[in-house]
């Protein structure tokens, strides 16, 4: 495309070390160097975490660590197995909760909802993703946990596997909804028409053609959701009870449980630097990092396959008959397994609430229904299915409403001018949250100042200069991995690299750098998207006028892509403002009653951490907890709405 024109337009060159170098090449390598930062960060994360784990590997042994049944650091027992099991169980529960809801909502949005409701419904799911994890945790702690305690017969504690799974499930919903919705609505219209033209109902078309055709995208969505759930820290830590035990029996949903992330977050603050315990937490982070990496890579591979399927560049392989037969058999077995899982989940849930008889009864009813629908008229099945889908959508919207109204209605009484501009007193029970608001502001501003230039430059490089070379793919991979890395791992990395190694101490500066690493992928990706969407003709028009590539980028491409870049920036501000785990060991203190002179080497208070602190350490500070949660929610959600507004505003205005 552009390559041919490059010889034509005016080429600026200069002599460096006796060789003629084109200005455009210089710029290109400069941009590439910046973009490579993502790779360096990933390598840095792996390096620092692995280095930190060495002591533990030596003292405990990798096998003993992974296989040990008991995690009790004060007795020098570092068995991570219960934590790994805990992580896996909470995640399974979360997906069992989120997949039916998320998939149902995705199908509703793309197949059932009238066109004008589609965007608002998608927006609702985006609001879910805007709520900070610590606010979910707080809601879980004060609403969900007591609810379970009072409503599940025989429950002795509300903090449990179930509470963690429900909460994580809610948090995984937006990922699943948006990716699955994307996959479903990108199934070519011609499939739907073909099916309808054969006399299929809409539901038959959805269930037999559209969803199967989108299945890889849906799997990718699920796996991404799994990745998110596994890496989640604050929310799980606040509601799972954190006992490092195996549920007894293994299906006991009301058993407390403890995850890898929660262990790191809880113990890192108290442990002495350089001990085996300290190192064991790094090893935990390494294990988590590897698991999440595998999960996310799987989902990426599946996504790529899906794109390939709809826009095939090469004809699909022709398989042997035997292979096809085996595949058919496998898919039949898979179907059975699916039904078994659905029935199993129903059984476990009903038994928990209403006992074994009711469980048996309801499983029979569901099986009966499955059987009967084979023979009832397709139109009735469609009604049933659409009814269920609408119900699911209602539940999703309802969940969001419940969370928001609870926090708003309980938080409003706490809000006052004093609450906003006074220091806390009585350990947070009284006074205001002024230093936390200010601290969050400081954190965000610095983070953005660091991350935006790097992110935007990387985004430009990736969209305008990067070809499919190995190094570029490396950079892309690095950014993808950064995006999927659990936030607590960033926290640990920040502590090891900035707090300890660079000796910044727990400080604003360490917090900035850590958060900057965290939000970098958001900015890179939105920039890349925005720049890519600038039409080729526009770029060529500028090049054809004799502008260099760099002039074209700065004078034509960037201004056109500006709204997209701003949107990405705003989104990342929201993210930075709401994160807790990454700043927990790098930048914050729990309590400040006065502020000294501004220094980047001093720690700050921050809203998310303050909320966590109040919720977990100061249980009677009810009003201030809700007040803090509301302020945080307002800040983060208004940031997100600004971004959304901007995006819609410009997407309407600019119609290439």
């Amino acid at each position: 495309m552009v390559v041919g024109k490059q010889e034509v337009h005016r080429v600026k060159t200069r002599i460096i070390m006796g060789r003629t170098v084109h200005d455009d090449d210089l710029i290109k390598y400069g941009l590439m160097a910046v973009a490579s930062l993502a790779v360096i960060i990933v390598l840095g994360i792996i390096g620092f975490i692995a280095e930190g784990s060495m002591t533990a590997v030596r003292d405990i042994g990798l096998w003993n660590f992974l296989n040990g049944d008991v995690w009790r650091p004060n007795r020098e027992l570092y068995g991570a197995y219960p934590l790994i099991v805990g992580t896996v169980l909470v995640t399974i529960g979360a997906i069992a909760f989120a997949l039916p809801l998320g998939l149902g909502a995705a199908i509703f949005i793309s197949e059932l909802a009238p066109k004008r409701y589609r965007e608002p419904l998608k927006l609702i799911s985006e609001v879910f993703s805007g709520i900070p994890s610590v606010v979910y945790g707080f809601f879980g702690l004060v609403v969900l946990v007591p609810f379970l305690l009072n409503n599940v017969p025989g429950a002795t504690a509300g903090q449990s596997w179930l509470a963690g799974s429900i909460l994580l499930g809610i948090m995984a919903l937006p990922t699943i909804i948006s990716v699955a919705e994307d996959a479903i609505s990108s199934v070519p219209r011609s499939y739907r028409e073909a099916s309808l033209a054969m006399g299929a109902t809409r539901w038959q078309t959805t269930s037999r053609v559209v969803v199967p055709a989108a299945i890889s995208g849906i799997s990718a969505a699920t796996i991404l959701g799994i990745g998110r759930a596994m890496g989640e820290t604050m929310a799980v830590m606040m509601v799972t009870g954190n006992a490092p035990i195996f549920p007894e029996p293994l299906t006991n949903l009301m058993s407390p449980i403890r995850t890898i992330t929660a262990t790191i977050a809880m113990e890192m603050k108290e442990v002495a630097y350089g001990t085996t315990h300290f190192s064991a937490l790094f090893l935990l982070a390494l294990v988590l990092f590897v698991i999440v990496l595998l999960v996310n890579t799987t989902s990426r591979v599946i996504m790529r396959r899906m794109r390939e399927k709809f826009n095939p560049t090469k004809p699909p392989k022709i398989r042997s008959q035997r292979f096809m037969d085996a595949q058919e058999k496998a898919s039949r077995i898979f179907k059975l397994v699916r039904y078994a899982v659905i029935l199993g989940v129903i059984w476990i849930l009903v038994e928990l609430w209403f006992g074994a008889d009711a469980a048996l009864g309801s499983v029979m009813v569901v099986m009966g229904l499955m059987l009967v629908t084979r023979y009832t008229a397709a139109r009735w099945n469609q009604r049933l299915a659409h009814g269920i889908l609408s119900l699911v959508m209602l539940v999703v919207v309802g969940l969001l409403l419940v969370i928001i109204t609870d926090i708003v209605s309980n938080g409003i009484p706490a809000l006052s001018a004093e609450f906003i501009n006074e220091f806390p007193s009585q350990g947070g029970r009284a006074g205001g949250i002024y230093p936390a608001i200010l601290g969050t502001l400081k954190l965000v501003v610095g983070t953005i100042a660091i991350a935006v230039p790097i992110g935007v430059v990387s985004g430009i490089y990736l969209s305008e200069y990067a070809h499919d070379t190995r190094w570029t793919n490396f950079i892309r991979g690095g950014i993808d991995n950064l995006a999927g890395t659990p936030s607590v791992v960033f926290g640990l990395f920040g502590m090891a690299a900035f707090v300890i190694y660079l000796d910044f101490g727990v400080s604003l500066l360490a917090g900035w750098l850590t958060l900057a690493c965290l939000i970098l992928p958001v900015i890179v990706r939105t920039t890349e998207e925005a720049v890519k969407r600038v039409p080729q003709e526009l770029k060529e028009a500028s090049l054809a006028l004799g502008a260099t590539k760099w002039e074209t980028i700065t004078k034509v491409v960037l201004p056109a892509a500006f709204p997209g870049v701003i949107t990405g920036t705003i989104l990342s501000i929201g993210r930075a403002a709401g994160e807790t785990a990454p700043i927990m060991f790098t930048a914050v203190v729990a309590y400040q009653t006065r502020l000294g002179d501004f220094s980047v080497m001093d720690p700050v208070m921050a809203l998310p951490y303050h909320l966590y602190f109040l919720a977990s350490e100061v249980p009677d500070a009810y009003d201030n907890q809700y007040g803090t949660a509301l302020v945080l929610l307002i800040i983060v959600l208004s940031i997100y709405s600004a971004a959304t507004f901007l995006r819609y505003h410009y997407s309407k205005k600019i119609n290439w």
Partner: protein, 252 residues
């Protein structure tokens, strides 16, 4: 009882504010091939899709008039649209097999309508693929993905798929426009064969095609059916000047 299988009377159709069909009337005789020709955007597809009510799925589409099929008005609200579409199959411009195996493509329809017995499904697969003149090419790879077929093969698979639910009418919307000449020939031959058992309505841009295979031809222009007659009359002795100008290529 009329001798026509389908009778269209005074059909008007709007997409939102835009009227796409103006007072169209025509009839389709059983076991014939009826071709619809006309310049792009004149409403051929729209008319065709009215016959199996595929326009229902387009938001803002409104129809007035009457289309009878076996003397029953299919535009009446109480029509069972699913049953209607089972009786009136459709082939699209771009081959659109499902991303499933060849076999599953053909069994999709029968399964929808309640056939589950494997033996009869297998028999049906062979029968339909045979009828669509594809059997010799795919018989030893029925389990392969339909996406691995060539465009022409895919289109014939789509025809087999349409035949699988035992329709009476097959609507074809420019079924060969995405195919090369050889594949086009095969589809044209196939259409001739199908006439024995089915009634075919075909939209085409290709006037040779219309004159080669059809018994009746309708010429449309700007949403109106300008002329409808036996094919030889339309091509040799059109009564409208517009038609003559179009078929002789002196248009616009």
């Amino acid at each position: 009882m009329s001798t026509n299988l389908i009778d269209i009377k005074g059909l008007n159709l709007w997409y939102g504010e835009n009227q796409a069909l103006h007072d169209v009337s025509m009839s389709v005789k059983p076991n014939s091939i009826t071709a619809l020709i006309g310049p792009s955007g004149c409403g051929k597809s729209t008319l065709l899709r009215s016959i199996n009510r595929m326009n229902d799925i387009i938001a803002g589409c409104r129809v007035e008039g009457e289309i009878t099929f076996h003397d029953k008005n299919i535009l009446a609200p109480e029509t069972d649209v699913m049953a209607l579409r089972k009786k009136i199959g459709m082939i699209f411009q771009k081959p659109n097999p499902f991303p499933m195996s060849i076999k599953d493509n053909v069994t999709y329809g029968p399964r929808l309508h309640g056939v589950t017995d494997r033996e009869s499904l297998d028999k049906l697969v062979e029968e339909c693929i045979n009828k669509s003149a594809l059997w010799s090419e795919v018989q030893d790879r029925l389990g392969a993905s339909a996406m691995s077929l060539s465009g022409g093969q895919q289109q014939r698979l789509c025809i087999a798929r349409a035949l699988s639910v035992n329709p009476e009418v097959i609507l074809m919307d420019e079924p060969t426009s995405a195919l090369d000449p050889i594949a086009t020939n095969k589809i044209e031959d196939l259409a001739q064969d199908l006439k024995k058992d089915y009634t075919v309505v075909i939209v085409t841009h290709n006037m040779q095609q219309a004159s080669r295979i059809s018994d009746y031809t309708g010429f449309m222009y700007m949403g109106k059916l300008i002329e409808f007659d036996k094919t030889e009359n339309i091509f040799e002795n059109p009564s409208e000047e517009l038609t003559e100008r179009y078929i002789t290529g002196r248009f616009g």
